[in-house]
C-alpha cells in the first residue's frame, strides 16, 4: 500500500475517532435535564425577592419528558409556561417565596421525621392557606429539601378519592391540587442540591429508582449567584 493511501487511512481513522469522542463527550455533557432556569428577581425595599412557582405531578407526560410515567417537579417561567427544569438560578442574600402546587397523591415518607418543616421563616409553611409546622408524614406526597441550607418542607398529597385529578404535566390549576407556600432566605453563593425524600418511584424496590435519582425529576440544584 502506498504511503499516501496509508496516511489517508490514518487520518480518516483519527477523524472518525475524534468525531466519536466528540459525540460521546457532547452527549454526556448536554443532559437536557440539567439546563438551568434563571428565576426572575424583583427588588422590594432594596431587598432582592424571588417568586418561585413550582408544581409536582404524578406523571411528567410525553410532552415535556422522555419518561412520561415518572413523577416530576416543574417550574413556572415568567410568562406562565411550565418548564421541566429542576436547576434554578437564584440570587444570593435574597428572600425566596416558594409556591408549590401539588397534583400528586400521597405515598408517605420513608423517614417520618422528615414530615417536620425546617429552614423556612418560622419553620412553617402555608398548607392550603393554613400555617403549620409539620404534616402527617404518611400523607406526604413529595418533599422539597435542601440539606445544605437546612430546608425541609413536605408537600401534602391529594387525597386518592379527589375529583378531577390531573393526568400528565403540565397540570392546570383547575385540577385537584394542594397549595403549599413557604419562604426561605439565601445567603452565601453556591451550588446547592435539593431533592425529594419521599420514595414514590413505583416499580423500583423501595421506590427509590428512576425519577428519584434523576436531575430534572425529583432532584435538582439551586445555583445561588452573587
Amino acid at each position: 500500500m502506498q504511503v499516501g493511501v496509508k496516511l489517508l487511512l490514518v487520518a480518516a481513522a483519527v477523524a472518525v475517532a475524534g468525531v466519536l469522542i466528540g459525540f460521546y463527550a457532547n452527549k454526556l455533557t448536554h443532559d437536557a435535564n440539567s439546563a438551568a432556569y434563571t428565576v426572575p428577581v424583583r427588588i422590594v425595599n432594596g431587598q432582592r425577592v424571588v417568586d418561585l412557582k413550582i408544581q409536582t405531578v404524578a406523571a411528567a407526560g410525553p410532552t415535556v419528558s422522555h419518561n412520561p410515567d415518572w413523577v416530576s417537579y416543574l417550574v413556572q417561567t415568567s410568562n406562565g409556561v411550565w418548564k421541566h427544569l429542576t436547576v434554578w438560578d437564584l440570587p444570593a442574600n435574597a428572600t425566596i417565596h416558594v409556591t408549590d402546587y401539588n397534583f400528586d397523591g400521597a405515598s408517605g415518607t420513608r423517614n417520618p421525621f422528615l414530615g417536620r418543616f425546617t429552614g423556612t421563616d418560622g419553620n412553617r409553611a402555608l398548607v392550603n392557606g393554613k400555617p403549620v409546622d409539620h404534616i402527617d408524614p404518611s400523607l406526604a406526597s413529595h418533599i422539597f429539601a435542601v440539606p445544605q441550607l437546612g430546608i425541609n418542607i413536605a408537600f401534602l398529597g391529594v387525597p386518592d378519592n379527589a375529583k378531577n385529578q390531573c393526568g400528565y404535566a403540565p397540570c392546570p390549576l383547575k385540577t385537584a391540587h394542594e397549595t403549599i407556600k413557604f419562604t426561605f432566605h439565601t445567603t452565601t453563593p453556591g451550588h446547592y442540591r435539593w431533592q425529594c425524600f419521599v420514595p414514590c418511584a413505583a416499580g423500583w424496590i423501595s421506590g427509590w429508582g428512576g425519577p428519584m435519582q434523576t436531575i430534572g425529576y425529583m432532584d435538582g440544584f439551586l445555583n445561588v449567584k452573587a
Binding site: V3, K6, L7, V10, I21, Y24, A25, K27, L28, T29, D31, N33, S34, N67, D69, W70, G190, H191, A201, A202, G203, W204, I205, S206, W208, G209, G210, M212, Q213, T214, I215, D219
Partner: protein
C-alpha cells in the same frame, strides 16, 4: 505458449460474504431485535410483574443475549459443532492463512488470537482511559458540575468496569496466547476454537458496556453493590452482561491455559525449566478459572433481583447486602491478583534478558507466584473491614493480608538480585520493568496501611485506596503491559518500534503517572471519599494538580499510539529475529513467527536463563520428533 496468470482474487463483496466480523455484527444486531421483541411478545404488556416502569428488564437482557448469540453465529462459532453433528471428521484449524482478513473472524492460530486481543484490549483500554480523562475534567472544580450527577457516576463506573474487565485478560489475552505455546514447544493451544471464542466474547462484552449510556447508565461504580444496583435504570443490565460475558471469557481462557501448560509441554521441559512467564500465566489462569464463576453467579443473582423481583440482596425481602459484598469480593480479590500476577511474571521474565544474568532464585520466584495465588483466596474481607462484619474476623483478615506481602516480596528479591552485578541495558522494555519496582512498591506499602484496620478506618472508601490500587494495577500491570508490547511486538510483527519515541513515552508516562496518583494518597487522607463529584474547597489545588497530570498522562498514551502507527504502518523497519539477544525460545525463531511455530518440536535441556553459562542451547537437535499438531 499461454502466459501464466496469477489466480484471480474474488471481488471484494464476495470476500466480505462469509462467517466473519461483518456477518457477526449484522447477525448480532438482528439477534438483538429478536431478543427484544421476542421478550416483549412472551412477557406482554404486563410490566408490573417485572416491576420496572420504564423497561421490561427481561427485554433488555434477552436483547443483548440474542445479540451476542447472533454475533457468535455470524463469526462462525457454530459451524464446527454443526459439522461434527452432521458427521464430518474433526479438524483443528480454521482460516489460519488468508492475510489480514483472518484477524477479523474466527481464526484458530493462537498467534492471530494474541494479536486480535492486543488490538481489542487496546481499543477498550483507550475508551476506559477517555472516561478517566472526563472524570478528572469534572474534578477540576470542587462544586461546579460539567456532567449531571448520574452521568458522572456512569463515567466512573464505566472507567472502572471497562478497565477491570478488559485488563484482567490484558496480559494473558495478547501475550500468553501468542507466547505460551511457543515457550512450551507446542504448535497450538489445547483448545484453539475456545481460544478464539474467549476473544470475541470479550469484544461483545466491551461493545455492550459502551451502550450503557443509551439506557441511562449505572450508578454503582464497578463494584455493582446491592441494593443500589436494584434501583438503577436499565443501563445496569449492560454492566451485568459485560461482566458475565467477560467472566465466561476469563474462565475459558484460564481453562485453556492450564490445559495447554499441563499437557502440551515439549520433551525435556520439566516444571523447573519452565519460563517464569509461563508460571505466572499458570497461576493467573488458576485464579481466573476459580474466581470468575463466582462473579457470574453473583451477577446472575443481581439480574434476578432486578428483573424478577427476587430479594437475594435486599433486607426488606429477607435478603442481605452482605451476601452480595462477600460474593463479589470473593471474586474481587483474586481478580486483582489476576491483574497483578502477570505483571510479576513479565518483570521476572524480562529482567534476565536486560541484566544478562539468570533469573535469581527461580524456585523462590515460583514459590512467590504460587504463594500469592493461594493467599489471594484468604484475604477478601479486607475490603469489608468497616462494613459491619463480625469483629472476630478482622484480626484474621488483617493477618492474612499482611502475610500476602511475603510471597510478593519474593518477586522483589528475585528481581532485584537479578540486577545485582548484572550488565544492565536500559532499553524501553527494561525501563517499564524497572518502573514496576518503584510503582508496585508504593502500591504495596500503601496496601500495608490499608490492611491495618485502625488505619483503614480513615482510608477505606477514600482516594487513598484509589491511589493504592492505581499504583498496583496501573503502575504494576499497565507498565508491564507496555513493557511486553515493546519487547514482543518486533517478534510478533517483524518490525521495530521506534526506540526514541518509546523512551519519550516511558518517561512522560512514568513522571505523569506518579504526579497523578501520588497526591491522591494525601487527598484520601484529607477526607475526600471515592466517586464524588463535589469536594471541599481546600482540596482544589491538589485535585487540579492531579487532573492536569492526568491529562498529560493521557497525552503520553497518544505518543505511544503515534509510535505504534508510525513504526508499524509507515516506517516498517524490519526487526532482526533476536533484537534483545534473548535466550528465550521465541527469539530463536524468525519474526514474525511462522504459522506452525517450529519446523520440528524442540527438545528442552534447560531453562531460558543461562546467561553467563554458555552458548544458547540448540533446542531442535537433528533427531527431534517432527511432532503432531
Amino acid at each position: 505458449m499461454t502466459a501464466v496468470t496469477a489466480p484471480l482474487r474474488p471481488p471484494i463483496w464476495r470476500r466480505l460474504v462469509g462467517f466473519n466480523l461483518l456477518t457477526g455484527i449484522v447477525l448480532g444486531i438482528g439477534g438483538w431485535y429478536v431478543g427484544w421483541f421476542g421478550a416483549h411478545a412472551v412477557v406482554g404488556p404486563s410490566l408490573d410483574y417485572f416491576g420496572d416502569v420504564d423497561y421490561n428488564e427481561l427485554s433488555v437482557f434477552m436483547a443483548y443475549i440474542g445479540g451476542v448469540v447472533g454475533f457468535l453465529i455470524g463469526l462462525g462459532f457454530l459451524n464446527y459443532p454443526a459439522r461434527r453433528l452432521l458427521g464430518y471428521p474433526p479438524s483443528l484449524r480454521e482460516k489460519e492463512t488468508g492475510g489480514w482478513a483472518r484477524y477479523f473472524g474466527l481464526c484458530t492460530d493462537h498467534k492471530v488470537v494474541g494479536i486480535q486481543y492486543l488490538w481489542g484490549i487496546g481499543l477498550f483500554f483507550f475508551i476506559g482511559g477517555l472516561n478517566a480523562m472526563l472524570i478528572r475534567f469534572e474534578l477540576l472544580r470542587p462544586t461546579h458540575q460539567v456532567f449531571s450527577g448520574g452521568t458522572y457516576l456512569t463515567l466512573v463506573g464505566m472507567h472502572g468496569t471497562m478497565m477491570m474487565g478488559m485488563m484482567s485478560s490484558g496480559i494473558l489475552g495478547p501475550f500468553a496466547n501468542y507466547l505460551v505455546p511457543i515457550m512450551i514447544g507446542a504448535r497450538r493451544m489445547a483448545f484453539p476454537r475456545v481460544e478464539a471464542l474467549t476473544f470475541w466474547l470479550l469484544m461483545a462484552a466491551g461493545a455492550i458496556l459502551t451502550t450503557t449510556i443509551f439506557f441511562g447508565g449505572f450508578p454503582t461504580g464497578w463494584t455493582g453493590y446491592e441494593p443500589l444496583n436494584v434501583q438503577a435504570a436499565a443501563g445496569m443490565d449492560c454492566y451485568i452482561l459485560f461482566f458475565a460475558l467477560a467472566g465466561i471469557s476469563m474462565t475459558l481462557l484460564g481453562l485453556n491455559m492450564i490445559a495447554t501448560i499441563v499437557t502440551m509441554r515439549a520433551p525435556g521441559l520439566t516444571w523447573m525449566r519452565l519460563p517464569i512467564f509461563v508460571w505466572g500465566v499458570l497461576s493467573t489462569a488458576s485464579l481466573m478459572v476459580l474466581a470468575a464463576p463466582v462473579l457470574i453467579a453473583v451477577l446472575s443473582m443481581s439480574a434476578l433481583d432486578r428483573a424478577a423481583q427476587t430479594t437475594f440482596f435486599s433486607a426488606s425481602g429477607g435478603g442481605s447486602n452482605y451476601l452480595y459484598e462477600n460474593l463479589f469480593w470473593v471474586f474481587g480479590h483474586p481478580e486483582v491478583y489476576i491483574l497483578a500476577l502477570p505483571g510479576f511474571a513479565i518483570v521476572l521474565e524480562l529482567l534476565p534478558v536486560f541484566a544478562r544474568k539468570p533469573l535469581w532464585g527461580y524456585r523462590l520466584a515460583v514459590a512467590g507466584l504460587l504463594g500469592v495465588t493461594l493467599l489471594s483466596w484468604m484475604v477478601w474481607q479486607h475490603h469489608l473491614f468497616v462494613s459491619g462484619i463480625n469483629g472476630d474476623l478482622r484480626p484474621f483478615y488483617m493477618l492474612s493480608t499482611e502475610l500476602i506481602s511475603i510471597p510478593t516480596g519474593f518477586t522483589f528479591i528475585c528481581g532485584l538480585m537479578t540486577l545485582w552485578r548484572g550488565q544492565i541495558r536500559f532499553t524501553v522494555p527494561m525501563l517499564f520493568c524497572l518502573a514496576w519496582f518503584f510503582n508496585f512498591l508504593l502500591g504495596g506499602l500503601s496496601g500495608v496501611f490499608l490492611s491495618d484496620v485502625p488505619s483503614d478506618v480513615t482510608t477505606h472508601g477514600s482516594f487513598f485506596s484509589m491511589a493504592h490500587f492505581h499504583y498496583t494495577i496501573m503502575g504494576g500491570l499497565v507498565f508491564t503491559f507496555f513493557a511486553a508490547i515493546y519487547y514482543w511486538v518486533p517478534k510478533m510483527t517483524g518490525w521495530q518500534l521506534n526506540e526514541t519515541l518509546g523512551k519519550i513515552h516511558f518517561w512522560t508516562m512514568f513522571v505523569f503517572f506518579n504526579s497523578t496518583f501520588a497526591p491522591l494518597f494525601a487527598i484520601g487522607f484529607l477526607n475526600q471519599p471515592r466517586r464524588v463529584n463535589v469536594y471541599a474547597h481546600t482540596l482544589q489545588f491538589l485535585n487540579d494538580w492531579v487532573s492536569v497530570s492526568a491529562f498529560c498522562l493521557g497525552t503520553s498514551m497518544l505518543i505511544f499510539l503515534f509510535n505504534l502507527v508510525w513504526s508499524l504502518a509507515f516506517v516498517k523497519k524490519p526487526a532482526v529475529a533476536n533484537p534483545w539477544a534473548s535466550r528465550s525460545i521465541e527469539f530463536q525463531l524468525p519474526s514474525p513467527v511462522p504459522v506452525h511455530n517450529f519446523d520440528r518440536i524442540p527438545v528442552f535441556s534447560s531453562d531460558p536463563y543461562g546467561y553467563g553459562e554458555g552458548p544458547v542451547p540448540q533446542w531442535v537437535p537433528a533427531g527431534a520428533p517432527a511432532g503432531r499438531d
